[in-house]
């Protein structure tokens, strides 16, 4: 087995992983960094983020307002000390990206622009038209090339962590092109593998978002935290789930039902306004907007499309010029995937799974409970999103916490003695044998796509926008059964070189573990909060019992063990979440 020795290994080459790599190269230039990614970094899903990235800049904005919006938006399940750290670093990171060349959209005087976003009390979302993630990712990727200390293993599939003497000391990876195994030995590992939206049937995520990093850490005893909080983005294309940015609404787009009514006024988000107004109507938070869609569907007021029910996202009144300048990608997507001109016709949209608020449990410094393992970006739960993430906080998160993970992992790595190969070799050999057993199986009876499709279907059925005990229990039962069926998958492809069917089978193992953590965490949260809303007797928020983080711990084939931990509330006590007129009345919109 080939061995690569490095100081810090990073798994995942999206925004968080690249930001971490650069932070190490800048803060500890004597250290070597190895960036391991199953796709070439610029293919990572940060590329598909559209609307923007938060950072307080305007004269009317304050860090307190960003803090308040984030904590209230997360339905008070945020760790407030970590939110404070986050909001105080966002703007500096946006400026750093600007210095590295990110083409932020500008005002006529040359300063960067900000736009309105859902649940934010003022315009604070930096944007590069509607390709913000694309530009951030390519800026980070291209900038990373100037640091000789960063070496990359592009298209190397990480399949396990190597843990020895109670600390994480590397990983095992498969070189995709050849199928050869590589043992990466390191003094610290940063997990930056993104989300797990692919465990659901209809989602906005790329095919690579299979929860690998979450699954790897989880199997080594690190808890997955708050996994029941899965964000349904309210505006995506029916069928495919392709994202239609919240920036459309930030720029003034309307959502209308089949009668042409701006139905959000019926869900405590009014009054009806014609201009984008913070926390009002279409600029409510994503959980509330997706819930409103569900109610419209129940009332028979959605539009029927060949690919499912939808409402209309109207951009026509914004005018061709603004659409071309601010939302060119949305115009392109509408043309390509719907054959329509969004300047002349409404876009049919519906909610799809978009984001995992939870993830690998990490503290506010990105450290996990496993010494030597750090986590940042969507795969992590550092505590800032609570029960519902606000749009544009995730791109900011990957920059702020990617940098922090890099600096802290580098500091940790400096303190460690070099890894001894012999102790890691047996762990790597065992992991290799497990991966090869999938390939060698000859008596399997299950087709990979069938197991995958049944998982995604039961997750969409049971862990939806609204949930019931019966529905969640049924999903848990189906998932439990799929664990055994996955062990009987028979691959068509027994080759080693570029065997994407084999890699997909390993991915599905991670996905299934992550799905079970989500479903059991949801079943056990007997209240409604943020994106976890129940239709049964637990339809209210219950701070007395559940102002707590859920911790799901891996129990191999048995269901996860569910426990709870405290939420760090420093200065904003739990209160009712209010939007629309109520927010204005209480001063919440401007956070007086």
């Amino acid at each position: 087995m080939q061995v690569v020795s490095t100081d810090v290994a990073i798994i995942g080459g999206g925004g968080a992983g690249l930001r971490a790599a650069i932070a190490i190269a800048e803060s500890a230039p004597e250290l070597n960094v190895t960036l391991v990614s199953k796709v070439v970094p610029m293919r990572s899903h940060t590329v598909a983020a559209e609307g923007g990235s938060a950072g307080v800049t305007t004269e009317v904005d304050t860090l307190d307002m960003h803090f308040h919006d984030t904590v209230a938006g997360g339905d008070w399940l945020c760790d407030q000390d970590v939110v404070d750290y986050f909001v105080s670093r966002c703007t500096e990171e946006m400026i750093q990206l600007e210095h590295w060349g990110c083409p932020w959209s500008r005002q006529s005087d040359g300063h960067t622009s900000v736009r309105n976003f859902g649940g934010m009390s003022t315009a604070r979302t930096w944007f590069a038209a509607d390709k913000t993630g694309f530009h951030m990712l390519h800026t980070l990727f291209q900038t990373s090339m100037k640091y000789p200390a960063i070496s990359r293993l592009d298209e190397y599939f990480a399949c396990d962590l190597l843990v020895e003497d109670g600390r994480c000391q590397g990983l095992l990876a498969i070189e995709v092109a050849t199928g050869d195994f590589v043992r990466v030995e390191s003094r610290a590992v940063i997990m930056a593998t993104g989300g797990a939206g692919r465990v659901f049937r209809q989602n906005t995520n790329a095919g690579i978002l299979t929860g690998d990093g979450m699954g790897m850490a989880y199997r080594h005893g690190v808890s997955l935290r708050d996994m029941e909080f899965v964000q349904y983005h309210p505006t995506t294309l029916p069928g495919s789930g392709i994202l239609i940015t919240e920036g459309c609404r930030g720029e003034g787009g309307y959502l209308t039902n089949k009668d042409g009514n701006r139905y959000l006024q019926d869900y405590a988000l009014g009054p009806v306004v014609t201009e984008p107004t913070p926390k009002t109507m279409e600029l409510g938070p994503r959980d509330r907007l997706s819930q409103a869609f569900w109610h419209e569907q129940q009332k028979g007021r959605t539009i029927t499309t060949p690919l499912g029910p939808a409402v209309h996202l109207e951009l026509m009144h914004l005018g061709q010029r603004k659409l071309t300048e601010r939302l060119p990608f949305i115009m392109e997507l509408s043309k390509t995937f719907l054959g329509i001109d969004a300047a002349k016709q409404a876009i049919p949209v519906c909610p799809s799974v978009h984001y995992t608020m939870g993830g690998i449990a990490a503290d506010g410094t990105t450290a996990t409970a496993l010494p030597g393992l750090y986590a940042c970006g969507e795969c992590s739960s550092v505590g800032i999103h609570g029960a519902n993430r606000l749009g544009s906080n995730s791109l900011a998160e990957l920059a702020v916490f990617g940098k922090l993970a890099g600096e802290n992992a580098a500091a940790f790595a400096r303190e460690q003695s070099p890894t001894t190969s012999s102790s890691l070799q047996s762990a790597a050999d065992a992991a290799e044998a497990r991966a090869l057993a999938i390939l060698a199986r000859q008596d399997g009876s299950e087709r990979l796509a069938s197991v995958r499709d049944e998982m995604t279907q039961t997750m969409s059925d049971g862990i939806g926008i609204y949930r019931t005990a019966d529905g969640m229990q049924a999903t848990c039962d189906v998932l439990d059964g799929l664990v055994d069926r996955l062990a009987h998958v028979q691959l068509d492809d027994s080759n080693r070189a570029f065997n994407t069917e084999w890699l997909a089978a390993i991915e599905l193992g991670f996905s299934l573990d992550v799905a079970r953590a989500m479903a059991y965490s949801a079943l056990n949260r007997r209240e409604s909060r943020g994106a976890h809303v129940r239709l049964d007797e637990y339809d209210e928020r219950d701070d007395h019992q559940f102002l707590k983080h859920t911790l799901a711990t891996y129990e191999a084939d048995a269901p996860p063990r569910i426990a709870y931990s405290g939420v760090n509330i420093t200065r904003l006590p739990p209160a009712e979440r209010v939007y629309g007129a109520a927010a204005t009345a209480t001063g919440d919109a401007a956070n007086a």
């Binding site: 590295w100 390509t336 080759n495």
Partner: protein, 251 residues
């Protein structure tokens, strides 16, 4: 589905472990109005032959993973639709001018090396501290490079480029576009470090003005325009070298 039809998809196959050369295999695939070429390939992999190998990821034309030759034309397979080929058939082959790794997956290493060679990052003599805020850049200044920064590195332009096909030492359309993107950025001061590559045989002068790269670009980057501006810069650079002691650029 109301309009469920079937189409024949011929796919080039090549397995380095068992095949001495590529061959064509045909599959019959159901489709409807919304089925992309990528979804057709996914149908084959899920239901007919799990060993069919191809790259894909975002399926919304921004990650740049899924480029293929579709009936001889370089396309993003997520952005091409089976309905547009029916009732004819499709032949899907790996992107031209790159070594095949397996089936439809090609080796992208050459492009990644070329990308790095153009120094695709902001180069400055003095870095402004973050505490002093952003650099100012008017919308007009942004527009001088924005289009070239929109390249998704999908490599379709390399498959379209006859020059790269003849001699792959040519830096090629995407990397030259990104080179120009940084040279044209008002924040950048690194032009003098990039001009030797622009001026070299592998640089803009390798281009023979066919323009097919811009035609196939799925993001309207117009690499041919970037290369042409590179030629203007290179010519200026050549003449200015006689007129100024330090050479032409940045003066």
């Amino acid at each position: 589905m109301p309009d469920r039809r079937e189409i024949d998809i011929e796919v080039m196959r090549y397995n380095p472990e068992t095949d001495s050369e590529p061959y064509i295999q045909s599959f019959r695939v159901p489709f409807d109005e919304d089925t992309s070429v990528l979804m057709g390939l996914q149908y084959i992999k899920d239901h007919l032959d799990g060993s069919l190998t191809f790259r894909w990821s975002c399926r919304m034309a921004v990650c740049g993973s899924c480029g293929k030759m579709v009936n001889g034309v370089p396309k993003l397979s997520c952005k091409a639709f089976l309905r547009d080929y029916y009732p004819g058939k499709l032949r899907i082959e790996p992107l031209e001018h790159f070594p095949i790794v397996r089936d439809l997956a090609v080796d992208q290493t050459d492009f990644l090396e070329k990308l790095e060679a153009v120094k695709p990052w902001i180069i400055r003599k003095d870095e402004k501290p973050l505490s002093e805020g952003t650099y100012l850049q008017t919308p007009e200044e942004v527009s001088s490079y924005l289009q070239f920064s929109s390249c998704i590195n999908c490599l379709l332009c390399y498959s379209a480029c006859p020059q790269y096909g003849l001699d792959n030492s040519f830096t090629g359309p995407a990397a030259l576009s990104l080179l120009h993107r940084y040279n044209a950025d008002s924040r950048d001061e690194g032009k003098s470090e990039r001009m030797p590559l622009v001026n070299s045989e592998e640089g803009v002068w390798g281009c023979t003005l066919v323009g097919y790269c811009s035609e196939v670009c799925p993001k309207q980057v117009d690499p041919a325009a970037a290369v042409n501006r590179g030629k203007v810069n290179s010519t200026m650079d050549y003449f200015l070298r006689f007129l100024t002691p330090r050479g032409g650029v940045d003066s």
